[in-house]
Symmetry: C2
Subunit: 200 residues, 2 copies
């Protein structure tokens, strides 16, 4: 059993490599996000990777605050990403706590991050947050929103999720190698990552 500890997250470099090797595929930025509902049962949906928060390991996801995953995360703030790269046959399972940043957030820095995430998306992608409530029965006649002032800031329904990884499980189906990464606290309270090989 080989094990090592590092201050920086070595899984992040592995993940950046995978993102890069699979970047010619549109779906390579899609992953599945599992949460736990109020009824204690799992739910699972595809979401889009919006990059890492600057200077951190936190994974950014945009979502509509009217979706069920928000209720789920209010009940249980932990989520697990399953990200399978179809070209390189690699899987990352990323477990962590999710911070929800919506219009009601009281932290000015977080509201700035939310605004930056809003403007990072295309105007077309912003339009969906003006649409009818996702997941509820659809009326035959829907008001349509075909245009939006490109300089207008985030609408109420826009929510930025930040997933802070605690554990990462990496599996390579080509080499049949698997690595487990987890966080520990040092004596001075600093967070560091350990990694070791596990059986696939």
């Amino acid at each position: 059993m080989s094990s090592s500890a590092t201050a920086t997250a070595t899984w992040k470099q592995l993940l950046l490599n995978s993102i890069n090797s699979n970047s010619h595929l549109k779906h390579s930025t899609y992953f599945q996000l599992a949460t736990v509902g109020i009824n204690g049962r799992p739910s699972n949906r595809t979401v889009v990777f919006r990059g890492f928060q600057d200077g951190t390991n936190k994974i950014q996801i945009n979502t509509d605050s009217r979706t069920r995953k928000i209720d789920d995360l209010k009940h249980c703030p932990f989520a697990e990403v399953c990200w399978y790269f179809t070209e390189t046959w690699e899987q990352f399972r990323i477990h962590g706590k999710v911070d929800m940043i919506d219009a009601s957030n009281s932290d000015p820095d977080k509201l700035k991050q939310r605004e930056a995430a809003w403007f990072a998306g295309s105007v077309r992608s912003r339009l969906q947050y003006l649409g009818p409530t996702p997941g509820i029965p659809s009326l035959d006649e829907q008001p349509s929103h075909d245009s939006l002032d490109p300089s207008a800031g985030p609408v109420d329904a826009f929510c930025l999720l930040l997933l802070d990884p605690e554990q990462v499980d990496y599996l390579n189906l080509k080499s049949n190698e698997r690595l487990a990464f987890s966080t520990r606290r040092s004596f001075n309270g600093e967070k560091f990552w350990t990694q070791y090989k596990v059986n696939p």
Copy 2:
């Protein structure tokens, strides 16, 4: 709001169409299975679709009974599949209860299903169930299992999962259409499916 009720599951035909349209892609039979751990947190991993149980809507998955998903399912028997088809841009979220059929099962019919699932896999894929316990730290020296009697029945670690769908959420990202399917019981206790359009 348009709604309809049928005895047969119309989502199944949609799913069979998607499987067919994406069948040239190896990864089209891979989906993500979310469960809830003993700690109440979600977990999520890629598994392989092994077909429907004959004459039913139940989804077959092979797994190693030494993996954490088995502990998860003993604690909470509900799972949610998220299956994204990369060619046709369709997503199926399939929620249901999971029946675990391992060597200790007392039902002879279920044991027959487990045996059939074992023999349906390649000899090479069966070898992994003879390997060291998945997910635990890997020893540098591992006993290798390079051969297996092709006529030998399932080993202890082989477990067949049967997911019985209760709710299905279908999303088509090309047409931007979304359908919700759910099960009801009729007055005579028979299970039937209803479906309606929901906002994407």
